[in-house]
């Protein structure tokens, strides 16, 4: 009720220096770290349930199994900060490696599944190119034609998934060329490369979004697009780039998982978008734009996957895992509401 009071000309009868000057800053930093206690708590609970939880082996397992979704979360975070959303990322995740496989793999090896049109070396460029094209098409409809982002990308989600089903006939592409499987299956310094890649991308994301003009432009657009435009930010161009970068990241994530599976199932990424949104929002990214950090998003996805791992280790009956998963998301939401301290937006 009191929120109706506070804006307007006479905001407070008593002048405002009632709060310590640095509180907001502290709060902003705190919000970045909001999930750290929860992560520690889950780690302890997990360790109690099964000492295996904190073994190097299991930690690597958690990090690897989250690495691809984490990159999707990073992509979604970039888009959310600009005040848009991109549901189609989950389909790009499957379609981009799917198209590359389709064009590259030899039909002789796979009972006629591929076209074998391009040499193997083209596979990875094609993956990224498909990502860029999808992002550019989204940009065309959203930025250029002013269509609503939610519904454009919902349409794209369905259409891109349909396209993958169409070219594959619903089957799984396998016998992928080595260039496609390398990144998802190799290890560097004893740790799977996909972990390195996802951590690196998050580090880059933290620097770009936190410490470059381009990154700050995303926040400015999400906070108030008109004001950003008035400040000389080329809002349209930045939105295009954000959408394209997000789609390319999704394509890259798809490449990683295809490498890990050494195959591209037609259903790759199906339903992942729910998890992606949940992780981003639990990590403090606002659906209304302008708020949230890459580090927060990372903690969000880490927390989710740790909990899933604990539930698996605890041997929760199969039919109740989904329920517990949902419950965890809801609880995380309520908790982040309490630590966040005000109505979420």
């Amino acid at each position: 009720m009191s929120e109706t009071l506070s804006t307007g000309k006479a905001s407070a009868p008593v002048p405002p220096p009632t709060r310590p000057p640095s509180r907001h800053l502290a709060l902003a930093r705190l919000r970045d770290l909001a999930l750290v206690p929860a992560i520690i708590a889950v780690a302890i609970v997990g360790w109690i349930i099964s000492p295996v939880f904190l073994s190097t082996d299991n930690i690597v397992n958690v990090l690897q199994s989250m690495s691809e979704i984490a990159i999707l979360v990073l992509a979604q975070t970039i888009v959310l900060i600009t005040g848009k959303m991109d549901l189609s990322l989950e389909s790009t995740f499957g379609l981009a490696p799917g198209i590359a496989a389709w064009l590259v793999i030899d039909p002789a090896l796979t009972r006629g599944l591929g076209l074998g049109l391009l040499p193997d070396a083209w596979a990875v460029p094609v993956v990224l190119l498909v990502g860029a094209l999808v992002g550019a098409f989204n940009g065309l409809l959203i930025v250029r034609f002013g269509l609503n982002g939610f519904i454009v990308t919902l349409g794209m989600l369905i259409i891109l998934r349909g396209l993958l089903t169409g070219i594959s006939g619903g089957q799984t592409f396998f016998a992928l060329p080595g260039s496609m499987t390398y990144l998802g299956s190799t290890s560097w310094f004893g740790i799977p490369a996909s972990i390195w890649v996802s951590l690196l991308l998050f580090a880059v994301g933290i620097v770009v979004l936190g410490h470059t003009r381009a990154g700050r432009a995303l926040y400015a657009i999400g906070g108030n697009a008109d004001a950003a435009r008035a400040a000389g930010i080329r809002t349209d161009r930045v939105l295009w780039i954000a959408l394209i970068v997000a789609s390319v990241l999704a394509a890259l994530a798809g490449l990683l998982i295809s490498g890990r599976l050494a195959a591209v199932p037609a259903a790759q990424g199906d339903g992942a978008i729910f998890q992606v949104f949940a992780a981003a929002v639990i990590g403090g990214v606002s659906l209304n734009g302008g708020k949230g950090s890459v580090f927060g998003a990372f903690t969000g996805v880490l927390l989710l996957f740790m909990i899933i791992n604990v539930l698996t280790l605890a041997g929760v009956p199969a039919q109740w895992t989904n329920f517990l998963n949902g419950a965890v998301i809801l609880v995380a939401l309520v908790v982040s509401r309490i630590t966040g301290g005000k109505a979420q937006t």
Partner: protein
Amino acid sequence: MSATPHRPGGGPVGEDRPVVEAVDITKRFGSTLALSGAGIMVRPGETHALVGRNGAGKSTLVSILTGLQAADGGAVAFDGRPAPPLADRDAWRQRVACVYQKSTIIPTLTVAENLFLNRHARSRSGLIRWSSLRREAEQLLAAWSVEVDVRQPASTLSVEQRQFVEIARALSFGARFIILDEPTAQLDAAGIHRLFTRIRDLRAHGVTFLFISHHLQEIYELCDRVTVFRDARHIVTAPVAELSRQALVAAMTGEDVTMPEAGRRPLTSDAPVLLSVRDLVTSSGAELSMEARAGEVVGIAGGGGSGKVEVAEAMVGLARPAGGTVTLAGRVLRPGSVPDALAAGVGLVPQDRHREGLVPSLSIAENVTMTVPDRVGRYGLISPARRDALARDTIADLTIKAAGPQVPVSELSGGNQQKVVMGRALANDPQLLVLITPTAGVDVRSKQTLLGVVEDVRRRGAAVLVISDELDDLRNCDRVLVMFQGRVVGEMAHGWSDNDLVAAMEGVDLHHV
């Protein structure tokens, strides 16, 4: 004084080239012609005023002069050279800085970042140096004695602080030409004073200003020349000293609007007490006790932060008070309940029409009848015919300029929107009419209409509360309560002098020091 589609201006042009010259500008938004062959010429070093009624096209011209929008036709030149292409924002910003009418503060970002948006201090590696950015921001704000932590999000600023951040940012570009679109609308007297001192300072250093305001006295106080727009056209440009207030208003409205003061019927001393407010305390600590009699118009004045709006909102149920009672015609209002207040016969014009006054996507008819569903139908059903009939009455009574009751409010001009809000407040034939800053951002003509309604309502025997810091709003009150820092510090009977009231609002009592 007909429109001049060609080069505007009068008087001798000096040897200097004009800082900016816009010629024959036309701009259309869908079916609305916002500017039609309008122009302006601003000379170096002068402070040029631009006035006109709501929707005259002033802000549209500003957005064209600052390169935010392209004109459909016409030309803009700076220092005699054609304006840079729209995409080259940096070139525009070297030529002109601006405080826009619509806030360009980004609430989610820190104050410091807002000040240096898209021109952050960077190290050689291209990364932002947050510490030096913060230092620069602190220095900048210190010059305006705005005391805020630059690290806090801009959403925590008061409206006034926010306005100063905008102003400080616009002036920090080092541009030689600065446009201020209604910079004073959100400031109290002290703030305005600070701003004007600074403008005079800069002017002494040769900075040119284009200044837009609905407060005509500010034009006379500050400006050298004035340009008047009406109905999307340029009407006249003249030195301020050569244009009387009468003539200025006539140019703005196209008609002579001075009217004799309507016969003020003195309040009968035996009129019953209608409203009684006892020890009302708001959640932010402002306090009020008062009474109002039938037919009485009571003003509540106060500067920014005086608590006048809070007590008014608590009174009508928009906010839940921390304590106290409000009694209207013997009925004690339920605290924090707007429906109860409406049922008791309260009519309300809230402070900010965009935020609380209107549902822009709905029609005039729906907005006007929103508080009185009972009067436009039975059993929860709504009769469109009765609704439209009621709305048509309101449109006629308040001279709302609209094609009909079905027009969505979002398509009305600002002044007409405010009239719709007034219409909504009057729809339930209120016993108590509460008007919170009812003429904010409304041109002189619409002001008259709105304040005229007050006279009608008091004649019907209702009580009226006018909460405002605009003297014109308060002039017709039988008495004015003055609030300062959450307390009533004085009461002035009808006929107060401007100086006394302003002093009281500033917390200075001229008579009882």
